[in-house]
Symmetry: C2
Subunit: 642 residues, 2 copies
């Protein structure tokens, strides 16, 4: 069923400002031991159980209610009629699941999943009104409230998720059934909103519609949708979405200078604005996006790539406001940031965006789902005492299907193409086929144990003159080497940049990149007060953490690590699905006796911490925490200075 | 009008478990240069303008609406009838103001203020229903909702504030007009709630009624009110107030082990439980209170005495969760903590409670009002970049009248009496008259420039054998001396304890306490991550802070102070109403160049901060910050180690 040229996640193939073009999900086979099992669990367990939850929680029944379906038709003798239930934004969970399932089907056909997809599509289609309107909350008792509260009621947000699902469904299945629904809704929205006489001004309190409409324009060739997306971005700062920072409505988009407000909304908006840049929008948006990116990455981002540190408003905070225990760092915000950064990468080919995507995927995103694919984190603290556990579902269930679509679409984020050749953004064992703009089709394979080992063999299957662009990650500050077949690469291998290997390739040629992966102690900017005197441990792209279960002899808050003692890496195939743990010597350094029963000390004790005894310590990848018995966890560990 | 023996704030005179008895507000004259001007501003400016705001915002009209008053009677031709407006808890602002005004009248008669008090009392009285019910929100359209939502709608909370106001009004004016209203309401509540057949179980989502009912029992001798207070405390943990930590309803009170949930509610509840202990409640409550106090003071309290660090829920957080910029530290919570600690002090005579009262009054409470008495802080951060400013009023206006009643009742917190003699809790220049339990009346005067100077001369005006109990503050860790007349006191002067000076006093005898007040660098427990490597400056009971305006040559975040360089104190009579500033040498230590444009560093730079240049710095008392032009402020300053 899959049309392999079409299952691209973000279709920049024809985008005038795109440096990079995409490679379809279906053309990238991941066969590694890290991601492939996660995608398989996502496909085989997560997606079916989420569908079941969508049914059990009435989220699909809401479409049946809107369509006036007869429960008897579904063998439901327990009810007289379907009644719309749940929060006003619940339609979006169905749409996100549908998008996720579509991407999953690009990797592998699955009749049972196709059946679920078919049911969902049919129910959605039936719920659409003759004028194209579709939102089950505003069908029935809330009908009169349509488009009356763009700030709070997520109407355009739900519409955006329908459109994204429809585009994915069309690209993967070739069916126009849902795409037609999406187009009718988009046409309806385009009829209601716009600058013409008789149309309304407005913009959404929860952004999402912007990137959806650009993608719909790409998919259908209907440029009106792109213009409507631009209209919604241009409407920011006029008060239609509250006029405040929370809704990114405090000023015109081109004047944005720092990340503010609800984090998911902020990065979704930025993704939409970046899409508009790809389609030829001028430099004012791009300048704003670069300012926002700089603010986010230098002042408001956790070392995991997590963003939106503040519980209140699920929001960005002050610069350098990055508390660890009270980190919000919503899983959806990290996912939205991947989406935004992917578009920045497509615009620029700049490795800093790919570096950040890698950081987020391995840490801030992946931590959001349990190893067994059955439970989720909404918030992602970097320190906890054992009370924060993943849950199977949420009343506001945005994160679970969002993780599912991120994982299902992951193959589409591994490669890119440009006129010059193939770009390798992520290192994952597997095979891929990519088509250059001149029509040549390249095949390539990766052999690597990444992220556990930094050696990557990239073997080309297609002869001819073209370039391979290989990312030297920013984390690999020292010692990266590259050989092509047996010959050392003569050029520079700058960290945080792509190295272009340009040659007349023969079939079977192999580029071997070696990225040394010593464990690293990472320090934090001194303006982040809560990380003073602490370090985080990383190895390759992975952030590590200490869990109490691995360090039973010392309260984690007292576990201080030396600034310079050796840190070893040990592969443990049977632990947590196979992980490389970090091991070293630490010091148990509880508060000195002077602190007993007091919080403040009028005259500072000579040392705040007692001279402690040495003990071994073990750190685990952050993404894998809280998959065993409940206990404390810390990413940032105090430094012990002998 | 004042009956001088009766204007006590918490009447433990007959309380069976009280170690200390109170001294009436009217019998303590403050003539100092620190508090007396604040109380005068409170009386002359704050109270009249707050009354005007109560009128302008419809808070008093709500009582007129409930009574069905005719607007024409008030010359209000603009409206046909009074309509209840504003939040469901707005009655409480009127009651708190009335309590504040009553205490103010205990210090000084004032016909204009008496007129306002009289109007408020009359309007309140007229709004009471025949059955004793009184809450303007539940009169009219919400009548059917009475007592249906104890968790959220603050019905018992408002009732509690009415009772407190009525007791104060009766004690100060001798009038029973409002007390009778309060008794009718209390009788009504006592009719509705209780363990008897036909009565309801329940407890308030916002505590306050508990301490009010105990006080009403003390004032009227009606023991039913005390029993009802106990009933409401006993009902905690049964789910009537939500069953959650936010409402302190997660378990039975006697099983409480740490401070949780909404901070104001928590300390109000504790004050009520402590009142019950004073009246003879058993040890289970006292044990819980001691656990709670220990948790609060050793794990959850700012150096200013501020509590409730978390914005979300205005609540206590994790242990050691004490962010500075995002400190909530509501002014009302510090005030409620003074109330709770005052009752613990009355129970025990233990100076640690008086020490904490002092810390809170000079810092966490006083910071809540501007020097001119015209604007207020709701939240009290310990670091800010200039966007946090006091406001003249709030939609939820709990703090302004709460500060007013705290300041107006302050004279009642200076002294206490026991069978042995007179206790001096706070050092404030002025005079007082106190009656011992054997009926002897003592007069005493204080001469001191406290808190700017630690020398206090206490002169007795009454001969005879009795004790003076003088508090040696915990902050005075070293060097306190005491002379009686010219003779050095021979006993120990332990910090954080009362020294009992027992003798046969002659009229004119003088005890001179000298509390050295060097500037202190205060360190914080290492479990508070955001204060690592930082110190706060204190002198005497005052917490200091750096404000940008006084330190124009260095961004405050870069101002590092030496761990051991001299700190000088300089009296500046014309600055901020007269303050002693701290001065010393600091280092401008911006982040080292390695941090340019990055938040994390894979390999830690040798120093996080650049080697900076020396410059002078000036610190101001924290209570006085934000009384000049807007700018940054920091309590906790990085330490520079040469």
């Amino acid at each position: 069923m899959s049309s392999s040229a079409e299952s691209v996640v973000v279709d920049t193939t024809e985008s005038p400002r795109a440096r990079l073009k995409p490679v379809p999900v279906s053309d990238v086979k991941l066969t590694d031991a890290f991601w492939a099992p996660r995608l398989r669990i996502n496909h085989e367990f997560t997606l079916p159980t989420q569908y079941q939850l969508l049914e059990e929680t009435g989220r699909i029944d809401n479409f049946r209610a809107a369509a006036g379906k007869d429960p008897a038709q579904y063998g439901r003798s327990d009810i007289d009629r379907f009644v719309r239930s749940g929060a006003y934004y619940n339609d979006s969970d169905v749409y996100k699941w549908l998008e996720a399932a579509s991407w999953a089907l690009a990797t592998r056909r699955d009749p049972e999943l196709e059946q679920m997809v078919g049911t969902a599509v049919t129910e959605i289609e039936a719920a659409q009104e003759p004028d194209g309107y579709l939102d089950t909350y505003f069908t029935g008792e809330h009908r009169a409230e349509r488009w009356t509260n763009l700030r709070d009621l997520h109407e355009l947000y739900c519409g955006g998720h329908l459109i994204q699902a429809a585009v994915a469904h069309h690209r993967v299945t070739g069916s126009k059934q849902l795409l037609n629904v999406a187009c009718r809704l988009a046409d309806h929205i385009d009829h209601v909103f716009g600058p013409q006489p008789g149309q309304r001004e407005g913009t959404s309190g929860h952004e999402e519609i912007e990137m959806a409409l650009v993608e719909l324009a790409r998919e259908t060739g209907v440029d009106r949708y792109r213009k409507l997306a631009r209209f919604f971005v241009e409407m920011r700062g006029k008060g239609y979405a509250g006029g405040d920072e929370y809704h990114q409505d405090h000023r015109a988009f081109h004047a944005f200078d720092r990340m503010v407000g609800h984090a998911v909304r902020a990065v979704y908006l930025n993704a939409g604005a970046a899409d508009l840049c790809l389609e030829g929008e001028g430099d004012a948006y791009l300048s704003a996006l670069e300012r926002l990116w700089r603010n986010m990455t230098t002042c408001q981002m956790y070392v995991t790539g997590g963003i939106g540190s503040r519980y209140r408003g699920e929001a960005f905070g002050y610069d350098y406001e990055l508390p660890n225990r009270r980190a919000y760092a919503e899983t959806c915000a990290a996912i939205g940031s991947v989406m935004w950064n992917w578009r920045m990468l497509a615009l620029s080919g700049d490795a800093r965006y790919a570096d950040l995507i890698e950081t987020m995927l391995y840490n801030g995103v992946l931590v959001g789902v349990s190893l067994d694919g059955r439970s989720y984190f909404y918030q992602n603290p970097l320190a906890n005492d054992g009370d924060h556990r993943r849950e199977p579902w949420f009343g506001c269930a945005c994160c679970p299907p969002n993780i599912a679509r991120m994982l299902a679409s992951l193959p589409g984020y591994v490669y890119g193409v440009s006129d010059e050749g193939l770009w390798v953004h992520l290192y994952v064992e597997g095979e891929a086929t990519a088509t250059l703009s001149d029509g040549r089709t390249l095949t390539v394979s990766q052999r690597t144990r990444y992220p556990w080992d930094g050696r990557i063999e990239i073997r080309v299957g297609t002869p001819g003159p073209y370039s391979l662009f290989l990312r030297v990650p920013a984390w690999c500050e020292d010692g990266a080497t590259l050989r092509v077949n047996e010959a050392p690469y003569g050029g520079e291998l700058a960290p945080g940049a792509y190295v272009e290997v340009q040659r007349d390739w023969r079939e079977g040629d192999c580029a071997t990149l070696d990225l040394p992966m010593p464990a690293r102690r990472v320090a934090c900017h001194p303006y982040v007060p809560n990380n003073a005197g602490r370090v985080a441990l990383m190895r390759g792209p992975l952030v590590y953490c200490a869990e109490q279960i691995d360090n039973p002899d010392c309260a984690l808050e007292d576990l201080a690590i030396s600034i310079d003692a050796p840190l070893g890496a040990d592969w443990q195939p049977d632990l947590l699905g196979g992980v490389c743990v970090l091991e070293g010597t630490a010091v148990a350094a509880p508060p000195s006796a002077a602190w007993a029963d007091r919080l403040y000390h009028s005259t500072q004790p000579a040392t705040r911490r007692a001279q402690g005894h040495s003990l071994p310590f073990t750190a685990m990848p952050y993404y894998a925490w809280a998959n065993r018995e409940a206990g404390a966890m810390r990413v940032w560990l105090p430094v012990h200075r002998a």
